[in-house]
């Protein structure tokens, strides 16, 4: 069975290909070194338009009006410019109601683009541009420490990492947040206080990394204007020890928090990236692994949820406590003792 993996890597080479949602204009060049918040491309997805009915304006049938349109697609026009009409003293004319660009013409109708506000695509990951597929994608490479999370509110931010948590069981409260944290990316344990999230936004901080979040605060976290990423999930779950140690080691380091939404189809997950310089060229993470005896795993669900353990035995078909049947692993739990967990409820820590 292929094992799902959550990566907690002290040193790795991360490669990310940022695919544009539609063909667009790439605004970076090979060899550029980017920050996560830098714009790498623009697409024309969010332009505003005005539709002008030339046939009606000129009182001509649609079949004949194309000959009377004096502009072509892509042409820039000033406000009041003649778009269509016939010559002569008594002729009728269609003028541009605003400055813009002719976006499309079809069956006597002209679509005038009046806003140049185009959708911007952010790098989301810091690093060196190592490949560009013109109009389509940009590939970045970053030598870094890297931690994957489970949930994010789809924003991205950069700042210096600041450990608010004093241990994996930490709980974030509003009294721990003050103006000295302005511009930082905070690392905290569990948050069940709405006030803490709101106060962090007022400071403002550049990002918040949580071990876990109270489920009832999910709508609040979704609305915050700074990136929030959750490592373990919803409910009171302690920060996993490996990730906590790694982030503690980098307290104060420049960090990108890419809190993008978890997308199972594209494989995108929220992530914490701490760029490292003078670290050589470490290997890329191993992507495909099966469960094996001796591996360290994390329990995703059930009574050992959030705990780390080592696989000491793999069993084919056992009855779980719920009475369901399936393959399972016997674990030596990091917190002490042993436990039997369905394989479906385990992931590897890469």
């Amino acid at each position: 069975m292929l094992a799902p993996i959550t990566y907690i890597q002290p040193l790795t080479t991360l490669r990310r290909t940022r695919q544009l949602p539609v063909e667009g204009l790439i605004t970076v060049s090979l060899g550029d070194r980017l920050r996560g918040t830098d714009v790498i491309a623009r697409t024309g997805l969010h332009k505003q338009h005005i539709m002008l009915d030339a046939a009606r304006a000129l009182g001509a049938p649609a079949s004949r009006v194309s000959k009377l349109i004096q502009r072509v697609v892509g042409e820039e026009v000033e406000e009041g410019a003649i778009l269509a009409g016939s010559r002569g003293l008594a002729s009728r004319q269609l003028r541009a109601p605003a400055a813009g660009k002719i976006a499309a013409i079809s069956e006597g109708q002209i679509l005038l683009q009046i806003s140049d506000a185009s959708a911007q695509v952010q790098a989301r990951v810091p690093g060196l541009v190592i490949d560009i597929d013109p109009g389509q994608s940009v590939t970045l490479e970053c030598i870094c420490a890297w931690v994957q999370c489970l949930w994010g509110n789809d924003l991205v931010g950069e700042g210096n990492l600041h450990m608010v948590a004093d241990g994996p069981q930490h709980q974030l409260t509003a009294d721990q947040i003050d103006m000295s944290l302005r511009g930082a990316i905070l690392v905290a344990g569990h948050c069940s206080q709405r006030q803490a999230l709101e106060l962090a936004g007022q400071v403002p901080i550049r990002g918040l990394i949580l071990g876990s979040l109270a489920t009832r605060l999910l709508p609040v976290a979704e609305k915050m204007e700074y990136p929030i990423a959750v490592l373990e999930g919803f409910g009171k779950i302690p920060f996993n020890g490996d990730a906590f140690k790694l982030l503690s080691m980098h307290n104060g380091a420049a960090t990108t928090l890419n809190a993008q939404a978890n997308n199972p189809h594209s494989g995108e997950r929220p992530e914490i990236i701490i760029p490292l310089t003078d670290a050589g060229h470490p290997p890329q993470p191993v992507e495909i692994q099966s469960f094996r005896i001796g591996q360290t795993v994390r329990v995703l669900s059930g009574k050992y949820k959030g705990q780390l353990g080592e696989i000491i035995e793999l069993r084919g078909n056992v009855i779980y406590e719920s009475q369901l049947r399936g393959p399972a692993a016997e674990l030596t739990l990091a917190g002490g003792g042993r436990g039997r967990v369905p394989l479906a409820n385990l992931e590897l820590l890469g």
Binding site: L2, V22, A103, P264, G302, L324
Partner: protein, 587 residues
């Protein structure tokens, strides 16, 4: 009973690519009849890190090979040529899929209640999400409509409108909006268009739209105001669904090349099985199918072979829980819990599950939460499907499902329960059927595969459906009306092997079981009291001939419709346990 001899041991491997699990199922002839032999299962590998569905397919096949001891794989992959002795390989492969995100579709029709309604019906029966709809009645300005079309980045646009020799100018006007909108997108991002409107306009639509994008055509889905003709459009949609998904799901194309027929979506294949089963049911009763998947729930109904399918991509037991939670109050889930579980724990579990859809309930509390959530997911899907059930079916009570003769239940949350009484209760609580209905469990997840296999070898599909690969949980008799609490609502008498048994009084407000061994037949005389209706009309009773026993015999569900649950936890717990004990014969 279907007759027919399997053609010289024509073995078949069926692959079902689900959003979470991939299954490989093996069918072969045993003593002259086709049987389901075994299944292997692995995680679906459509997403990261492999982005290749065939990884999961090969793993599922490897497990199947291990279980059956039959060589199905060689160094080049699936062995599709059996050896001379017929002990290795398979003769054919079929495949169905429900993996991948739903298609983002924009629907366009002239009138909201006519052609747009039909287009939406068509699209709703596939694995699609309607991201926007446009009709002449749209109150947005033309430029708002155009911007919405281009910004939604649809995978497909379905355009209808105009009855046969009917409106044309308005259809062309809508098509022109589409043309303008699509011109705003780069060529590579322009979705194909399926035109299913007035056939006289096909050349005009081609002239307008074909220079911009690919245009597909099928017969008018609304040839007249009172006639809907979805058949040809369904075939075109099925083909387009595969083509679009094959570009997104790695490995799908290869699987299609190996398959005897074009890959079909699981919902359509499931529907074909439901339609087949309906053909042996006397009209006006029908057949209902419910497939509760991880991302999508499918509801299919068929009356005398007339099939309707609704696919709900936002409702399911994995990622689909998000859709359920968005339109549910917590109490609608917790009312089905017989454990005293804090609301916070229930919420935590249900909000984590969409992020970790492959996880399994490992404790009794988690299993109870999943079963409670499953009831609500199916309840929502059934509620949304009510408009598709035919008006001329039998409705003993308004606002409920019509009288179905059988309910086929699929989806591992419901079918792989450690105790079948939990499956039966969940189905009864969720669907809340009326009349006299037999509940059949697709315990091996075969329904979709058999729908696809029927195209290759109908005899195989029929013989496996008639085998014990499916579990008959029992026949349920559900009277509806307004009885006095605690009073007798039915008098029934069973006639077994020609012997009349004692008259049994069935009380209001619970579940009562009369034992009837699986496969054994008996006649039942039912006399409703207090004007209760079991589907034969208020107060009308009579003989129900040749009732066949299932796991739980004959079940009388007199809990009323809709089922009302007490607000007090203690009373609720007592009630839920009483119903469960009624099925198992416990105290």
């Amino acid at each position: 009973m279907s007759e027919g001899r399997p053609q010289s041991s024509n073995s078949l491997v069926a692959i079902d690519l689900g959003s979470v699990n991939t299954r490989a199922q093996f069918f072969d002839a045993v003593e002259g009849r086709y049987r389901f032999i075994a299944a292997g299962e692995a995680a679906t590998t459509a997403g990261a890190p492999t982005f290749d569905t065939n990884h999961g397919v090969l793993q599922a096949l490897a497990q199947l090979q291990e279980i059956t001891g039959r060589q199905l794989l060689n160094e080049r992959g699936l062995l599709l040529t059996p050896d001379a002795e017929g002990n290795a390989g398979a003769n054919a492969l079929t495949a169905t899929f429900s993996a991948g995100p739903p298609l983002r579709v924009i629907t366009v029709g002239l009138l909201e209640g006519v052609s747009l309604h039909s287009v939406n019906n068509l699209v709703d029966s596939f694995h699609c999400e309607i991201v926007d709809s446009l009709s002449l009645g749209d109150r947005r300005s033309p430029e708002q409509v155009i911007d919405a079309i281009s910004q939604n980045l649809p995978d497909l646009v379905v355009l209808a409108g105009g009855t046969h020799r009917g409106a044309s100018l308005s259809v062309v006007r809508l098509a022109n909006y589409l043309a303008l909108a699509l011109k705003l997108l780069p060529e590579s991002a322009r979705p194909p268009i399926l035109f299913v409107g007035n056939e006289n306009l096909q050349s005009e639509i081609d002239a307008l739209l074909a220079p911009i994008t690919k245009v597909y055509k099928a017969a008018n889905i609304r040839p007249s105001l009172d006639q809907e003709n979805l058949g040809p459009a369904e075939a075109a949609m099925s083909s387009l669904l595969y083509e679009v998904q094959a570009k997104k799901l790695g490995g799908l194309h290869l699987l299609n090349q190996l398959s005897e027929t074009r890959l079909s979506h699981s919902a359509q294949a499931f529907g074909r099985t439901v339609r087949f089963l309906s053909t042996v049911i006397d009209a006006p009763k029908g057949m209902l199918g419910v497939d509760l998947g991880a991302s999508t729930t499918t509801v299919a109904s068929a009356f005398a072979g007339e099939l309707e399918v609704r696919s709900f991509p936002g409702l399911g037991m994995g990622r689909g829980l998000t859709g359920m939670l968005a339109e549910t109050q917590l109490q609608q889930i917790t009312r089905w819990l017989s454990y005293d579980i804090p609301d916070e724990f229930v919420l935590d579990y249900l909000y984590n599950k969409p992020l970790l859809p492959a996880t399994l309930p490992s404790t009794p509390h988690e299993l109870a939460i999943e079963m409670a959530a499953a009831r609500q997911v199916v309840r929502l899907a059934i509620g949304k499907s009510l408009p598709m059930f035919p008006a001329n079916a039998i409705y003993p009570l308004t606002g409920t499902v019509p009288w179905f003769d059988r309910i086929l239940v699929a989806g591992s949350t419901l079918t792989r329960q450690p105790r079948p009484e939990h499956s039966l209760l969940a189905v009864l609580d969720a669907v809340q059927p009326v009349g006299v209905v037999t509940v059949i469990l697709d315990q091996n997840n075969l329904a979709s595969s058999l729908g696809a296999a029927a195209a290759v070898d109908p005899v195989l599909a029929v013989q496996v459906l008639e085998s014990n690969a499916f579990m008959n949980l029992g026949t349920v008799i559900v009277p509806v009306g307004s009885p006095r609490p605690g009073s007798t609502v039915l008098r029934v008498q069973l006639v077994r092997d020609g012997q009349k048994e004692e008259v049994v009084e069935i009380p209001e407000g619970g579940i009562t079981v009369l034992p009837l061994a699986p496969g054994k037949a008996a006649d039942l005389f039912v006399q409703p009291l207090q004007n209760m209706n079991i589907g034969l009309g208020a107060g009308r009773g009579g003989w129900i001939r040749r009732m066949v026993g299932g796991t739980f015999g004959l079940i009388f569900d007199t809990r009323g419709r809709p089922i009302q649950m007490p607000t007090s936890f203690n009373k609720r717990q007592e009630l839920l346990q009483t119903w469960e004990h009624a099925l198992t014969g416990g105290g």
